[in-house]
Symmetry: C4
């Protein structure tokens, strides 16, 4: 069973990767559930480019901090309420990515145009509330929008992406934004041709069986961290 | 009360931040009012990437330079006339940012699509004169367009953003361009869905109460400067 | 006759060039046929930013690895089936480039708008199958779509580009994405004006006679590698 | 009177500036007329990122190289024929810039939307021939398209920009692409609002009287070179 130090190491790599890809840019936080399913490791408040394993702190699902006294993200309820309602979720990201979020500001739909995004084939709901998710009530409302989907968009605000573990959260977060980037390119030229439901079904099955594309994104994340380490 | 050296330090951080984000690119100047409300600290003429606190010089609202003889921006009247007409303003930026300025070159409106831009909910007027604001008369005309708004666009030219202090000017300048970037992404895909007036009212109140998003942008600015210091 | 070490050196330069231009980004592989026409040198599985000549390994067209035991790309059949059906092809790239691939997600056509792309004047077919090309059968289907063209797009997936040698593959891969970038810029402003068939015929002849534009792209690739070498 | 070594120093700065702004990217050359009006200094063939003053060589308007034996750009006639027909021109650039060139691939017009581009208010003609300008005949045809304008677009190919000296060529090349970038942003959102003829007339007069915006772009170019020098 993975220990907290190992989880922090993975979150550290994920944070650096997303930071250098401009997913963070002042906002954003990531977390992972610990071996104790009522606790998570989460990035501290206002985390920036420079980061160590100690910047990921242990909090229980009621918001009690364990063993540290770091300032916590005001939107902690995004994480606690999704972990509470979704036992299958082991890791969560919240970013204000420009491409994915822009699909909440126009009537153009965000659906899979790029094959790895088949993992989002059951839909990406849009949460209608644009306010900061800074209370349990707002967190529960977001979890209700998310339901059993992998990800949700927050209108005029950002995205929430889940994974069974940090590796899957990283791959899914990357694929969501990449698919949004590519769909935007197509939409800016006119009509968008989405992948058919039949093709999505088969491609999703293949991707989740081999997990090849997911592993390659995680490998890219690990190499990125390796390259910037002293 | 903040002294000039402390103000210069903040302006230095702001300049570096905006320079590396390509807000400056040959043009642009920033200023802050001093403890003496009839004076400001302003970036000298043609300031580039390399900058020290001495590049911010003291000028009174009549354009008299105090204690230095640096070349001043030709558009100094942007700053002096806005400080004169707006006692609530403590800091001003003028840039030719590509995204915000592009909204003066098309009929698409620049209004909040991204929630932190709720601070601009009372509108961003467009100044119809595209000429350099290099006289008191032109400065007064711009101040008349700006009225009590936080920011104005200058047609075919650039933007002017105000704040009560340097920190707020930095956050507002960043949010204005970020919101313009995101609105452009949406507009290039078809229709734009702006945030409703009701939601803007509530979100603005929350943002200005906690000042959370504003503080995080300033934290990002400070970390940027910290990372490039020798 | 060029030996494997020299081919690996060229592939190394090509990889670094495309990596730093963000053609790779987690996915992508390149290869070149050896002096023995039944063998190729191909980038190993999940190759990233850091690369040496040893990352290019010898495989025969039946997928047998010669002298190494590296993990191979799952989409090896892209390369083996095209080499088998196209004796004129000496080098192949497969990327998920954002601009070229986006033309499989909209009804806007990818045809030459920029003069060096005259080398693609006989058309760039779109392969209708978006799945990973991870079997001989799928590889043969792709080769059947490609026919005698220089390049093909894979719907919702990526591109395949061929060349008589590594230099030509590099130039053609660069021109394909550059032409897609420029066509996207035009398309996002409204209608696209493609180059006329008469002009394409003459320009292609000139480009292939002097090979000037192709040589300059290869020179740019070589200089890039020279600049990053220790 | 400026000597060749001083001209080479200015061209060196211009080249580095444009190279790092991605104007060059494999293609492009720049030149300046010498004190002897029948000669020019021009960047040698296939010049890349690494450049010294010796990479700018003396050639007369008949294409004879003076004192060196460097490979010359195949499109030397762009420069020689424009210098021959336009005694007022002291410096020329030829690039394949993505934004400006894209306006030859769509019916959207490239006209001033950004105030410094008032210097192009008399129009930017489009040369209809997309072929390399590698003969005197083609060079004369291009000069005939250019007439007395500051710049011309080459259909499906690139741009040619002139200036009375290197400083003005640099500023005009920068403003042309910047205005194209901004016009593209506006066009991708719908309609474009160009600056009125009356405003253009007044703004051009102001810009050419003070030369302020031109000097600031040259200052940015000089600082760029200063920052990368050893």
């Amino acid at each position: 069973m993975i220990n907290n130090s190992e989880i922090a190491e993975k979150l550290l790599k994920a944070w650096r990767f997303f930071y250098d890809k401009n997913y963070v840019d002042g906002f954003g936080h990531i977390s992972a559930r610990t071996a104790d399913p009522n606790r998570m490791l989460i990035s501290r408040h206002s985390l920036g480019k420079n980061v160590t394993r100690e910047d990921f702190v242990v909090v229980d699902l009621d918001g009690n901090q364990i063993g540290t006294s770091a300032a916590l993200p005001g939107e902690l309820p995004i994480h606690s309420e999704i972990y509470r309602s979704r036992p299958d979720v082991g890791s969560i990201s919240h970013f204000h990515n420009t491409f994915a979020t822009s699909f909440t500001m126009t009537s153009q739909e965000l659906r899979p145009t790029y094959f790895p995004a088949a993992i989002f084939r059951d839909g990406i709901p849009i949460h209608p509330d644009s306010r900061l998710v800074n209370s349990s009530e707002r967190g529960r409302a977001l979890a209700a929008t998310l339901k059993n989907h992998r990800a949700a968009l927050l209108k005029a605000h950002g995205v929430v992406v889940t994974g069974r573990d940090v590796e899957e959260m990283v791959a899914a977060s990357f694929i969501l934004e990449d698919n949004a980037h590519r769909t935007w390119l197509a939409a800016s030229m006119g009509d968008v041709q989405y992948i058919s439901d039949e093709a999505l079904l088969e491609i999703e099955a293949e991707v989740l069986k081999s997990r090849g594309p997911l592993k390659r994104i995680w490998a890219m994340c690990e190499e990125h961290s390796h390259n910037i380490e002293p």
